[in-house]
């Protein structure tokens, strides 16, 4: 469990990036953090593995005050993937990069090798194991950064913008990997601007603006609250936009739809009554 209690943080002592943030995330949850550029999402998630320390308030991980734990200790529990993979990758081959974390956790060379191969396959990186992380496309680099953390299967995954640079298929693969880890009791926290990714995979959403949490609740309620969308620079999911447009002309279509098939059926029904 992660408990964040009234944390404040300023990078320069003048402007406050976090101004009193509190939240509680239970073991096994899937939570998305969304909101305005500069709202403090990255700053918040970096507090979860001790990369940043609160200047006021506290972070408690599995019952222990993070203050008393080193980054290395915290990182065993909370695996963080950075927004910018350049800040995370430093070795000269993709395989080394992924096996590094595994060996640190005590995996034998054979186990590390096998886990690395499996993770690369799951993330569509097969064939890139021996490449330098610096000779990859942007999306491939992001997936390597994800692989370094996903391979170790930490109890808490904290992923900053995991879908950056990913095409539709890669996003599906990533989502199924996260759901699989989640089923095996891993907590998954993502920071993302990708509304569709959130609505399809995360039951809970925390929306932020100006260093504060503006809303925290079920994804469908947060993303349909006009006031929250406005304050946190969010837009409704595509399906909602389509459903609303249809609802205006055909009031029998509900204003909120969760699945593409529901939209399809609603349209079929409308058209089905046409002679």
């Amino acid at each position: 469990m992660i408990l964040v209690e009234d944390i404040h943080f300023s990078y320069d002592g003048i402007y406050t990036a976090l101004q009193g943030v509190s939240l509680q995330i239970e073991k096994g949850e899937r939570v998305a953090i969304m909101g305005t550029n500069g709202a403090g999402k990255t700053t918040l998630i970096k507090h979860m593995n001790g990369l940043l320390r609160p200047q006021h308030g506290r972070v408690i991980v599995d019952g222990t005050d993070a203050k008393s734990l080193s980054i290395a200790e915290l990182s065993r529990t909370v695996g963080l993937v950075w927004q910018n993979p350049d800040h995370q990758l430093f070795l000269d081959s993709v395989r080394k990069e992924i096996e590094f974390g595994l060996k640190n956790l005590g995996f034998s060379p054979e186990e590390a090798n096998e886990q690395c191969t499996q993770t690369l396959k799951n993330l569509g990186l097969e064939g890139l194991a021996e490449r330098s992380p610096f000779a990859l496309s942007g999306g491939e680099r992001k997936r390597v950064a994800l692989a370094t953390v996903l391979a170790t299967e930490p109890r808490v995954l904290a992923l900053d913008e995991p879908t950056i640079g990913q095409d539709a298929h890669q996003k599906e693969r990533l989502a199924s990997m996260l759901l699989d880890l989640n089923e095996r009791e891993r907590t998954v926290i993502v920071v993302t601007h990708d509304v569709e990714f959130v609505i399809e995979n995360f039951p809970r959403t925390i929306a932020m603006a100006d260093g504060r949490i503006v809303a925290d609740g079920s994804t469908s309620s947060v993303l349909s609250n006009e006031d929250v969308l406005e304050r946190c620079s969010l837009t409704p999911p595509q399906l909602t936009v389509a459903a609303r447009a249809l609802h205006k002309v055909f009031p029998q279509v509900p204003e909120r739809l969760a699945l593409l098939s529901e939209l399809e059926n609603a349209v079929s029904e409308i058209l089905g009554v046409v002679p």
Binding site: G139, Q166, D167, Q238, L239, A242, R244, F250
Partner: protein, 281 residues
């Protein structure tokens, strides 16, 4: 000749074992708005780099065929010379920011192009206003959030007033409202000033309505090239993992049930309108 012309162009990065682009041919005329999309690793960034000359002058490798930009063969022209026609927004904005604050960043490009100081001051203020950068004015670019950096990188490129804007996934770090704002500005500059736009994007729901053309890349090759309404419903788009707008997906599913709308919708509003058309006729 077209403003940007790929003539049987192939490229392989030094040390790589396969081609990043293979026999790419395409003509892009002044005033077009072209969206480049395709799976991660298919060559989109390499294509962008080939337009502004980073390929082959900075990223070296094997090269065959030619790319012409504004009448120049990019093999012969320097990156600096090409910068007078092409502005590139990098996929990773942090790699593009070189100065100490927003004003300097915005002035940097135009200064290098030899733009008059007075004109530069005017442009800087216009861009700060247009892209809502006022609150970041004094900030060091490397002490900004990812989205703030990306907005600044776009602003710095627009300050060049490029003939061709090449933008490599320019909304990937932006919150949804900022993404809309930036894309609206780009679309406006395309329509009003005739700025040619070549933009890489995965989420086509954001850009399909603005684009006059979509080029689909797969494994370094162009596999489809045409108007959004022609390209997006094709099976290949779904197969290679293009982020197809939900409205277009519904259109396709209806089609398999034998229901034809009068054209391919790209947005929810358009879908509602086309369904209304059917019921009222």
């Amino acid at each position: 000749m077209a403003l940007v012309e790929f003539a049987d162009f192939s490229f392989k990065y030094l040390g790589a074992d396969s081609l990043a682009l293979r026999k790419v041919s395409a003509s892009i005329n002044e005033g077009e708005y072209v969206v480049i999309t395709g799976p991660s690793g298919c060559g989109k960034t390499t294509l962008c780099r080939a337009i502004n000359g980073l390929v082959p002058h900075f990223h070296r490798g094997y090269i065959a065929g030619n790319v012409y930009v504004d009448g120049q063969n990019t093999r012969d022209a320097t990156v600096a010379l090409l910068a007078s026609s092409v502005g590139l927004v990098f996929q990773n904005p942090a790699n593009q920011l070189v100065t100490l604050n927003v004003e300097k960043e915005l002035a940097f490009g135009p200064e290098n192009l030899g733009v008059e100081p007075q004109e530069i001051r005017k442009r800087v203020e216009e861009i700060i206003d247009l892209l809502n950068l006022e609150h970041l004015r004094e900030k060091h670019p490397h002490e900004m959030s990812g989205g703030e950096q990306q907005r600044l990188a776009m602003a710095a490129t627009l300050a060049l007033k490029p003939k061709v804007l090449v933008a490599d996934e320019p909304t990937s770090n932006l919150d949804p409202k900022s993404a809309e704002l930036i894309l609206d500005i780009i679309s406006e500059l395309n329509k009003r000033n005739g700025m040619t736009v070549i933009l890489v994007e995965h989420r086509l729901d954001l850009v399909a309505k603005d684009a006059s053309r979509i080029i689909l890349l797969d494994k370094g090759q162009i596999v489809a090239d045409g108007a959004p309404r022609d390209i997006l419903p094709q099976d290949i788009s779904m197969e290679i993992g293009v982020g197809i707008p939900k409205a277009t997906q519904v259109y396709k599913r209806l089609q398999t049930k034998g229901i034809e709308l009068s054209r391919v919708p790209l947005t929810g509003e358009e879908l509602a309108m086309l369904v209304g058309e059917v019921t009222s006729s």
